[in-house]
Every structure is written in structure tokens, then in C-alpha cells.
Assembly symmetry: C2
Homo-oligomer: 353 residues x 2
Amino acid sequence: MIDLRNLHSEREASVNIAEVARVTGVSTATVSRALSGRGSVSPTTREKVLTAASELGYVVSQAASTLASGRNRNVGIVVPFLEKWFFVEVLAGAQERLNRAGYDVTLYNLNLDGHGDERREVFENFLLRRRVDAVIAVSLELTDGEIARLHALDKPLVGVGGPITGVRTLALDDVRAARLATEHLLGLGHTRIAHIGGDDASDVDFHLPTKRRQGYEEALRAARVTPDPALLTTADFTLPGGYQAAKQLLGAPVGQRPTAIFATSDEMAIGAILAARDLGLVVPRDLSVIGVDDHDLASFFGLTTIAQSPRHQGALAAESLLAELEPDVHPPIDTVLPFELIVRDSTSRPLVD
Amino acid sequence: MIDLRNLHSEREASVNIAEVARVTGVSTATVSRALSGRGSVSPTTREKVLTAASELGYVVSQAASTLASGRNRNVGIVVPFLEKWFFVEVLAGAQERLNRAGYDVTLYNLNLDGHGDERREVFENFLLRRRVDAVIAVSLELTDGEIARLHALDKPLVGVGGPITGVRTLALDDVRAARLATEHLLGLGHTRIAHIGGDDASDVDFHLPTKRRQGYEEALRAARVTPDPALLTTADFTLPGGYQAAKQLLGAPVGQRPTAIFATSDEMAIGAILAARDLGLVVPRDLSVIGVDDHDLASFFGLTTIAQSPRHQGALAAESLLAELEPDVHPPIDTVLPFELIVRDSTSRPLVD
DNA sequence: TTGAAAGCGCTAACAC
DNA sequence: GTGTTAGCGCTTTCAA
């Protein structure tokens, strides 16, 4: 096998700091300072270094830099699995902010969805290789052992999507968001309002199902409507799951049948809309439907929903970590996660009362 | 701020190889050999080292190991954006295989979907920090400059989802897959078969739209059916896009209206099914629909489709890279990407001919 | 503002 | 099979 390296005049990949120093006529220490911005360098020297580095195609060796400084410029993002709109959005939001700050993102996928279970492996090996400066845990309930391991690393850790004991977390106020959704329906005049919550298996999401049901019930009681257990169902957060649950609810005889459904995710809400159609019901005339998320497909289906921008949540998590890692980044001022009622075509006054 | 480190008896994160060597009573070289499996160590010594390392909670410092060996145990995966089922599936498949082999995965998102454009940044900075041992490029057409930069790094590179000039690539045989889809419809007796292809903006996907249209036309011609330009539309691979395109096609007067639609992605095919419903057409009685992907939602909508497991494609890409990086991993024997017709409820014989 | 030099923690020749 | 040792390429005191 021919060694291609000697055929190239440009051996960019292996230009090192000494080379830049030699060309510029300064020491490696000065090059390092000029390039990293840490320590003072005269404007002239800095300029010369920058030019030389760029001409030589010099890029710092991350490994050497890390070994010497202890900084990785890399953040680990841990997700329970990837096949969900919410996780991917959070990931994209965090990734974008981190990349912009010059940080790499290493993705750890626990694969809790049946494709495997890399949980132990990730916490006991991968994260401990000190390849990351900080960790973002998305919609995960960590065990005490896992938290201890991360603490031992002495790295900042922030959760998105639910409270981790003793860890700073960004999470929607699920109770209030659910109350808002329910109040929207109540305000339109509905009283037979069904709820499709999350099932037990969705506990990766921190009892989020429980909290949203709680918000739903609070809103009903505040409006002097007694929650009817027959109007409570659960599903797995997916569209087919919502479809099934809705079919069940809508199969009840008229009079007992709900005039509105509040589903705890947009995918389930869309399932409910499709179920209604298949039963010959017209949305919103015969049935109002509201979801939570503002999923990609929500507007296509005309779904009224509570928007919660997970992308923004990811960016916010990144921002707050960067504030700890970079001297010149300030912690985000507003750390309250916004949510917002978006009224589309799937909700209206009930036909009959 | 109190330094917590002294409060912990276990300073796991900072145990180094020298410590393990001291406890075991051997040299650091032997510890390194025992732990990495490179070079020979007596079974007894190995056992002792493993025990000590585990008891001390020793985990190798990736940076030091990389600096000394040149190996990162890390693979970069570059995606055009994340908001697409296909990309996420490929990512998940590759990630799982790589993690299993002890490799980390660093995700580079070019954000070509309007949320930004990190392309230059990624290729000119991130990838050149030599943090990765290899690169997987998903559905990307790389420029010569980009390829050159990666070549200069002297790292294995494999593409998934389309041919990159001069680079090994895993890609579906799009022409044949499209032909199979069209032949299914022809076989059922359809002749007025419309096609919803990908639009120009989808060129991130390597002229995949063109190839699939080609397969469609080949199949028609082979069956002595003249392709009708009026039956050709394009959309953006999304559900709403497919819906719009289908509405357009189905708006034609009976007789000119297609009896079947072949959409180049399942999401568009689902959009077509919904469009048909909204027009009062019954699928498959009045209209047959077939897609490509076997998307998560395909079975819910009863969609007949050409399955192309992107998860498997990701795993295969990972496997072939590992074969180059690890002495004991063999290149995958079968590198032909399988695709398969899955017949569900969205296709049947045409009502009239 | 700049340079010299001591590591950072590990791996891989090489010697035994 | 194991130990010695010279780096890997950078950052960061410390001195000038």
C-alpha cells in the first residue's frame, strides 16, 4: 500500500503548534495564547499567528489540548431513545447552541425502547472516560447511583423534561399547561371532557402523565365539573395509541360520549382526530380535540394545542451549561419554560349541551 | 464555594493508571496492556489488574489514550438535519453498533433545513480537530473541497443514502426499488399510475428523486404504458407536501384521474391517503397508494410500501468502519441493501379500467 | 508581552 | 511476559 501522505504537498492534518510557532517566529506558548484567547498577546503577534495558522491549515489537536488543560469542549447528551419528536427537538436545540459555542456534542442513546438497553454501559463506562465537560439528560429519571457517578466526575449536569433529584432541571409546568388546555375546552362550553393520558410505561417521562391529569382535574373542579373516571384513558404517546384510546371513548352511547378530548401529546390527539373521522364524527362540530406539544404535524391537522418548544428547551439547557463552562457566557435570565395555547380548527363550542 | 472533592472518599474520576499499577504491583505498561488487550499479559496478572482497576473505579482518560495512540474510539456522524425519520433511524442504527464496540458517537448536524447552516463550520473546524477516527455522512452530497479535507485527515469515510464521489457508500438501489413499487401497481391492473417525486430542494438526497422517477418510468415502459407527464408531481417528502400534490392529481376529471399513486416516501404517501379521504375517495377502492420507507406510521395507515430499514443501513455503515478500525471486526459480508415489498391495505385492483 | 520548561496520562518501542 | 522510557501535542506556570 502506497503511503499517500508523501504525495500530498499539504499535510494539513498533521501541522502542529510548533510548526505555527516556527513560521511565525514566536514560541508555542504564544501561539497557544493567541489562538485560545487566554492570556495576553500583542495585536500584531496575534495577527501574525492567526494568519500563519490559517495558511498552514492548523487545527488544534483536541486530545492534546484536553490532556493539558482538562477542558474537552464537548458536551454529552443522554436520551432514553431517539424515536420521538420531543427528544430529537431537544437534541437539535442543544446541539445548535453548543456547536455555535465551539463545542462538540456526543450523543448517548440508552435505547430504552426495546432496541436494547445500554443504560449501564453508558453510565459506567462511556460517561466516565472524561470525554465530556458537562452532561444534558433528556427526559430521564436517574438513579441515585447514576447521579453519584456523575457527581464524582464533578461535571455540570442539567436535566430537560423532568426533575432529577438534586439536579437543576428545565421542565414544563405540566400541571398548569394541562389546566390551560382543559380551561380552553371548558371556556368553549364543554363539560364532558375526556382525557387521554400517558400510560405507566411512559414513566421515563417523570410522572408527566400524572401531573397533566392533575392539571386536567384541577381545571374541571375549578369549573365545578366532577371528573368522570369513565372519561379517563391512557395510551403510549403515539398516534396509534391515541387512535385506540379515542375509539374506546367515542364508542360510548350519545349522552355519555365526550364532546371534547384533551390528549397529553399531539400525536395522540391526532390519533383521536382520525378515530373521530373513522366513526363518522366531524371535528370540531361533534368533537373538540386539544393536544400538547405543537408537533410538526399539528398545523396540518388543524390541531389546537399547547405549544412547548422543546427546541428552545434544549437551547436553554445548553446555555445554562455554557454559563458554567465559559467565562463570558452568562446564565440565561429567563429560565421559566414558556407554553402557549395555539387555537386551530380542532376545537369549537359543543353542538349540544 | 466549598471544594466538594475532599469530602468524598471516592475520587474515582481522578484515579490514574499509575495508581492501578502501584496497587497491582506491576508497571503502567502492563496495566495498559491488560486493559486494552493489546500485547500479551499473563492470565494471572491480567486478572489482578482488572480487579484492581474495577475496585479503584479506574476508567481510562480518553484524551491521554488518544494522544499517545492516535486512536479516538469515536466516530463522527454528519447529518443534513435531524427532523426526518430516515436520518434519525440511520443515526440510531449506527450509534447502537458503535457503542457496542466501545465507540462514542459525536453528532454533527449541518442544519440545512432552515434553522441555520453550520456546514462550513463543521467541515473546516469540528471535523478537523481529529476527535474522530472515522466519519459517516448521511444523505449528503459532499463537495470536492469537503472530501479533500476529510481525505487529508486520512480517516475512513462512508456515506449512507447516496453516492459520494470516490467514497464508499451504502445506498438503496433506488431505480429497482421504484420499479418494484410500480410493478406492484401494474400487476394489480393499474395503468393510470401517478408519481409523487421529490422536489429540487430535496437534492440533499442525491438525486434520489430522479432515480426513483426513472424506476417508475422504466416499469411503465416495460409494461407498455406510456408515462403521462400530467401524472408526475413533486413534493418535499413531507406529509403535508404529499397531501397537496395528491389533491392536485386527484382533482382531475374522472377518466384522467389516476387510479393509483406511487409516492417516493411514506410520509407523502400518507398525505395522499388523507387527501383521497378528504375528496371522498375510498382507498384502495378508488385509489391505490404505495410509498417507500416502511415508516413508523405506515402500518397504522395500512400503507403498502417498499421497506428499506435505514436502521440496518446505519448499522452496516458502522460495521464497515469498525472493520477498518478494529483488527478483530470483519467487514460485513452482505453489503447489498435489502428492500422489500410490504403489502398492506392501501393497494388493490382498480375499480374500473 | 513573551519564552522556557514542566507536565497532562497514556501507549508503544525496545530491552530484558 | 514485563519493565523502562520516550514521546504524543498542547497548556500553563514561572521568570524574564
